[in-house]
Amino acid sequence: MLWNPILLSLKLALITTIILFAISIPLSYWLSKSSSKLKPILEAIIALPLVLPPTVLGFYLLLAFSPQSSLGTWVHSWFGMDLLFSFPGLVIGSCLYSLPFMVQPLQSGFLSIPKSLMEAARLMDKDFFTVLFRVLLPNMKSAVLSGLILTFAHTMGEFGVVLMIGGNIPNQTKVASIAIYDEVESLNYALANQYAMILVALSFVTLLVVYTFNGGYFKQQSR
């Protein structure tokens, strides 16, 4: 019972990190290269979860995922499932909420690669995926690591969005942060403390990994 919310949080964080990594590579690459007029608008939208109260994002997701909404109706008719108060809904909410934590380090990483490296690879007639996996990503390891760890850690600590769209369903949406809140509400402080200690330990280890590997993202941000 103690470990179920922790395992659910880990599962949510892992799936969210994998999905966001796949989405953020093309997105952050485009943001690092583009001079489009749409770029600042897109950057502002991506960064919104950094400044918005999680309950605001959660509120709009609640409306969007409800069975009465067109998205909720479409998902139900096509996939036979509801997004509200379900694990898939939590994954989508987490991806939106943690998007800037993956995109921004990766964008900084792509910007840190000298233009001449790309041009050298271009002259060697390498295709985009070869350049991405053999040249770009290996030379921005600290940015990739920062993105992965920050996204994972941020999703682990998610509360407001999960509470709004996931509720508190054991084994489905009752993640660690919700479990702490639930146990405190029930005045069960001992169990709440155990959950909290586990989250503190996990968060400390993840940040320790970032700093040990000389996290380029933090370093660049502090310059």
């Binding site: 000298p114 001449s116 041009e119 050298a120 271009r122 002259l123 060697m124 007639d125 390498k126 290996p138």
Partner: protein
């Protein structure tokens, strides 16, 4: 024959900078390009390489059209078979010296990579990553990598700018030797006229995007006759070896970097450019 007739303009902070060049070059030569900063030397190399596009004009090499604004032809940079030595060397930091050379090749040719590593005396750093090498060593790796691609054209953008004179002469020696071995056309951009005249067959001077002068290098005339000259004396110093030849009663002195693997001995008859 390389035929180039291009125009390109850039909007500067206060004025419009315009480049207009019309040049022909024979294949297989070393073309030295010099001129003041902002003359358009690097831009010319980048346009030849396909990294930048002219506003209009055409570029032809050996009857192949690489760029033609009227028929909208623009061969991608990767299809031009060009080796480019960048000012910052552009070596891939995550790869070792050997991996950098192998990665550059479309068809892997470990024999050529081994040969280049041996010829350019890079055996000791074969498995070392570029950040651990000095500027001069990185320069050699960049040159070797460009040649490992078996390019038709080799473009070098200010390759000697950060090197001391001794190292510069050593690399010029390598360049000359590699040119003789692999017979490619080389475009060499440098501020250093002394270096250019040592290796170039032709010199091109640019200023403000225009050709101000184009001439054959005084040291390597275009219409070269060859003669068999007898080596009569070798004066070796720390940096250079001066080889003194005799041909039809005339003495010819040839200075080469000391570390080139030349095995000439006094009394040998060596074929030399003459005239």
């Amino acid at each position: 024959m390389i035929k180039l007739d291009i125009e390109k303009s850039f909007k500067g902070t206060s004025s419009l900078w315009e480049m207009a060049l019309s040049c022909n070059w024979d294949l297989g030569r070393i073309i030295g390009i010099s001129g003041p900063s902002g003359a358009g030397k690097s831009t010319l190399l980048r346009i030849i390489a396909g990294l930048e596009q002219p506003d209009q004009g055409h570029i032809m090499i050996d009857n192949q059209v690489w760029y033609d604004s009227t028929s909208s032809i623009n061969t991608p940079a990767g299809k031009r078979n060009i080796g480019f030595v960048f000012q910052d060397y552009a070596l891939f930091p995550n790869m070792t010296v050997q991996q950098n050379l192998l990665f550059a090749q479309k068809v892997k040719d470990i024999r050529l990579v081994n040969e280049l590593i041996e010829v350019m005396e890079m055996e000791a750093w074969r498995d070392i990553k570029p950040q651990l090498l000095s500027g001069g060593q990185q320069q050699r790796v960049a040159l070797a990598r460009a040649i490992a691609m078996k390019p038709d054209l080799l473009l070098l953008d200010e390759p000697f700018s950060a090197l001391d004179p001794a190292l510069r002469d050593r690399l010029l020696g390598y360049l000359k030797m590699l040119h003789q071995k692999y017979r490619m056309t080389i475009f060499l951009v440098s501020h250093d006229l002394d270096s250019l005249t040592k290796v170039s067959d032709q010199l091109l001077f640019l200023d403000n995007g225009k050709v101000t002068s184009q001439q054959n290098s005084p040291f390597t005339p275009i219409k070269t006759k060859r003669c068999l000259a007898k080596l009569i004396k070798i004066n070796a110093s720390e940096d250079h070896s001066a080889f003194v030849f005799e041909f039809e009663g005339e003495r010819i002195e040839l200075k080469l970097p000391a570390n080139l693997p030349i095995k000439w001995q006094i009394g040998d008859n060596i074929e030399l450019p003459y005239g």
